[in-house]
């Protein structure tokens, strides 16, 4: 059995293999070969217990370009919204013969539970679980950074990458910290102390509370979504103060290195963590991140599902 549950399941070579494979997938889908027969006859279930149009569509497009049969199983109107347990859902998917389940879930660890249980035997791909991880997002981010900030592919050694904002609640940040440092980049987390996890000192990153002092040295800056409700939970006083110190606006962007890029996993809060002119600027690769997402997810599906067992990711 093979899964992609956490970036921590990947070796550096495996991560690079995914990124290299994604290059060829991008080439194949950019060129004349829109549809590949690779996963013909495989059934992939998109199990999205939490709404996420962007990630679901990206995985669906990736699966369909590889000719897999895709079944969408969403929260609204499905048995999930009627309180069906994860176990019963998994047993159903097993009975339907799912070769893989791509799961988005509000509970941290739900994909691990699915993979480790005896409830189903297919591959499990974590498409974002609670505040834990979002491995495919980190892989597409690394793919995007590699494309813009390195000359020859390979790893990300020597690059300086900033992740700014609500690290505490961000599964994107957790996966990116693991992956970017695995690939040799220097990662700096930039956030008010309230939005950094307890024990973050043990992570392989630098910490800064001063965006302005770090920004000019970065090759890529990744802005995280800040949810409005965090204000009522006392994480920061108000949106204005947050934007003043941790938002990326035009003045701040002007201090960035030449050729450095601005990233955001989406969906954006324009005006809060990023201003509209920055999001739409030439430095912004935010739209490109979305299209890279399909290629990276094709690579993940190919490497997990196309061949015989023992590939990338956790074996269990």
């Amino acid at each position: 059995m093979r899964h992609l549950l956490s970036i921590s399941d990947l070796s550096k070579d495996e991560a690079v293999l995914i990124l290299d494979t994604a290059i060829e997938m991008a080439r194949a889908s950019d060129g004349p070969m829109k549809k590949l027969p690779t996963l013909r006859g495989r059934t992939i279930v998109n199990l999205f217990a939490e709404d996420s149009t962007r990630t679901r569509i990206s995985f669906e497009a990736a699966a369909k370009r590889l000719s897999a049969d895709v079944i969408n199983f969403g929260a609204k109107g499905s048995s999930l919204s009627k309180g069906e347990s994860l176990k019963d859902t998994a047993l159903t998917l097993q009975a339907m013969g799912a070769d893989a389940v791509i799961i988005r879930h509000g509970a941290s660890g739900a994909p691990v539970r699915l993979a480790d249980s005896a409830w189903m035997s297919g591959s499990v791909i974590n498409a974002g679980d609670g505040t834990h991880e979002h491995p495919s997002q980190a892989l597409l981010d690394a793919f995007t950074i590699r494309k813009h900030c390195t000359k020859s592919g390979g790893d990300l050694a020597g690059l300086r990458i900033g992740i700014v904002g609500d690290v505490l609640h961000s599964r994107v940040a957790r996966s990116n910290v693991l992956l970017l440092s695995l690939l040799g980049a220097n990662v700096t987390l930039i956030a008010p102390p309230t939005l950094l996890p307890f024990g973050v000192e043990s992570w392989p990153v630098d910490i800064s509370y001063d965006f302005d002092s770090v920004l000019p040295s970065l090759d890529a800056v990744m802005m995280l979504r800040v949810q409005q409700e965090r204000m009522s939970d006392l994480f920061f006083p108000n949106a204005r103060e947050y934007s003043r110190y941790f938002g990326l606006n035009r003045d701040r962007m002007l201090t960035m290195k030449p050729n450095s890029i601005v990233m955001h996993p989406g969906p954006m809060n324009r005006g809060l963590e990023i201003t509209a002119d920055v999001a739409d600027s030439a430095r912004s690769v935010i739209v490109e991140q979305v299209s890279n997402g399909v290629s990276v997810r094709m690579a993940i599906l190919y490497l997990l599902l196309a061949g015989a067992p023992t590939q990338i990711g956790a074996n269990s």
Binding site: S108, V112, D129, H132, E133, R171, F198
Partner: protein, 422 residues
């Protein structure tokens, strides 16, 4: 059936080899070459005889959740674990906040007849932390309640806690506090630390326990009342209790077997079998708790036996219930963590699992030194044997033991309650 027995070949907690004769519910003789005189003889060579174990913290789920445990099934689990007295926590449905409920639970315990079941009364009505429950009526009921606790919830309002501590003095009661500052633990899932940060599970910080312990020992000192701290889990909590005791504050404290053995990194599997409140902590905390128990800073081991049906554990971590079984494995875990490590002798085990909890709970018939004329509540353990926990073989109605498949030293071979083998 013969009502007189002789336990032959065992040792007393102090290590003295001695036979014990039981007659009509009492210990009738202690010594060597006791006259059999028609008694049934149990060969307990290599075994240690302890005064019957007393648990101050047990969830029996009846009334309300008889699918996960009943007074009868919990009594069976108790006897299997060597306990002759257990304390039924108040968070049942309905809550044990009136004389009617505690008398019902007490009677169910009498009917089961396997061990004594002492109901714990709720401190506040409905465990809501606002209005005091009728503690006087519970104390004067046939259940004679002396231990009051909102366990599962913290009595977080300092004024309510002060009044409760004062109020129970009139009948010699004790408030057993579940120390958990609620505002610091909204939605908390596991110990706040390196592991929770990695797993993306909301942290339950040690300070949420320590700040309540600190507050309550000061209140107890101010109003000269007796305070008991349930399930201490943190090294910091231990230090505060040490300070309070040195200052002469009347505080006692308990630790659970699972907090003496397990650590928060087990949550990495996201298997909610390890989800418990208060949560599993770090190895540093585990070592501090063991030392505190050996020293007597922590007075007793209490199980916090918390049965849950399968569906509340076969799910996502954050959806799962808090709690794990404890009665059947408690003594073995204490042996492994405290006796085999050289931290305690059997004499201290007798104190921490029987004598001290009986004293705190006011269970005067239990927790006696083994001597002639006392009630024959006895537990016999064979420390030279070992066993493997099998969740399918537990006496409890639920199977949520985190120790499934683990091998432990020490087999409880006999439990005598009121002079009868149960």
């Amino acid at each position: 059936m013969s009502k007189s027995y002789i336990l032959k070949g065992g040792s007393l907690p102090n290590g003295t080899k001695s036979d014990i004769a039981i007659k009509d519910g009492l210990i009738s003789a202690i010594g060597t070459s006791l006259d059999a005189n028609g008694s049934k003889i149990f060969d307990i060579t290599n075994c240690v005889v302890l005064p019957g174990l007393v648990d101050l913290h047990t969830h029996l789920r009846e009334p309300g959740r008889e699918d996960s445990e009943t007074v009868l099934s919990g009594s069976r689990a108790a006897v299997k674990g060597g306990f002759t007295a257990i304390s039924a926590m108040a968070n049942t449905s309905p809550v044990a906040d009136t004389a009617g409920v505690v008398e019902q639970v007490f009677r169910l315990g009498q009917e089961a007849g396997l061990c004594d079941v002492f109901p714990v009364g709720a401190v506040t009505q409905g465990l809501e932390g606002e209005k005091l429950s009728e503690m006087g009526a519970m104390a004067n009921s046939i259940a004679r309640v002396r231990v009051f606790s909102d366990d599962g919830h913290c009595v977080s309002d300092p004024l309510v806690m002060r009044r409760a501590l004062e109020y129970v003095k009139q009948f010699g009661g004790v408030i057993a506090q579940h120390a958990q500052e609620p505002r610091l633990t909204v939605g908390s899932q596991m110990n706040e630390g390196i592991v929770s940060a990695k797993l993306g599970l909301k942290g339950w910080p040690a300070i949420a326990e320590e700040s309540i312990i600190a507050r309550d020992v000061l209140i107890a000192e101010h109003v000269s009342s007796r305070l008991h701290i349930c399930h201490v889990t943190t090294a910091g909590g231990v230090e505060i209790i040490r300070w309070a005791k040195a200052r002469g504050i009347d505080v006692t404290a308990e630790v659970t077997p699972h907090h003496l053995l397990l650590t928060d990194d087990l949550a990495s599997s996201y298997d909610p079998i390890y989800k418990v409140n208060p949560p599993l902590r770090t190895q540093k905390d585990v070592m501090a708790l063991r030392e505190a128990l050996a020293e007597g800073i922590i007075d007793i081991v209490a199980t916090d036996h918390a049965p849950h049906p399968a569906e509340t554990k076969e799910c996502e971590w954050q959806e799962a219930s808090f709690g794990m079984l404890g009665l059947e494995t408690a003594l073995s875990i204490v042996m492994q963590t405290m006796v085999d490590t050289g931290l305690m002798k059997w004499e201290q085990v007798a104190d921490r699992l029987s004598i001290a909890p009986a004293r705190i709970g006011g269970y005067s018939d239990h927790g006696q030194e083994i001597s002639v004329g006392k009630s024959a509540h006895l537990s016999v353990i064979n420390p030279t044997a070992s066993w493997r926990v099998d969740r399918d073989l537990v006496a409890s109605r639920s199977r949520n033991t985190p120790f499934h498949g683990m091998e432990f030293p020490g087999v409880v071979t006999h439990t005598f309650f009121k002079g009868v083998k149960r």
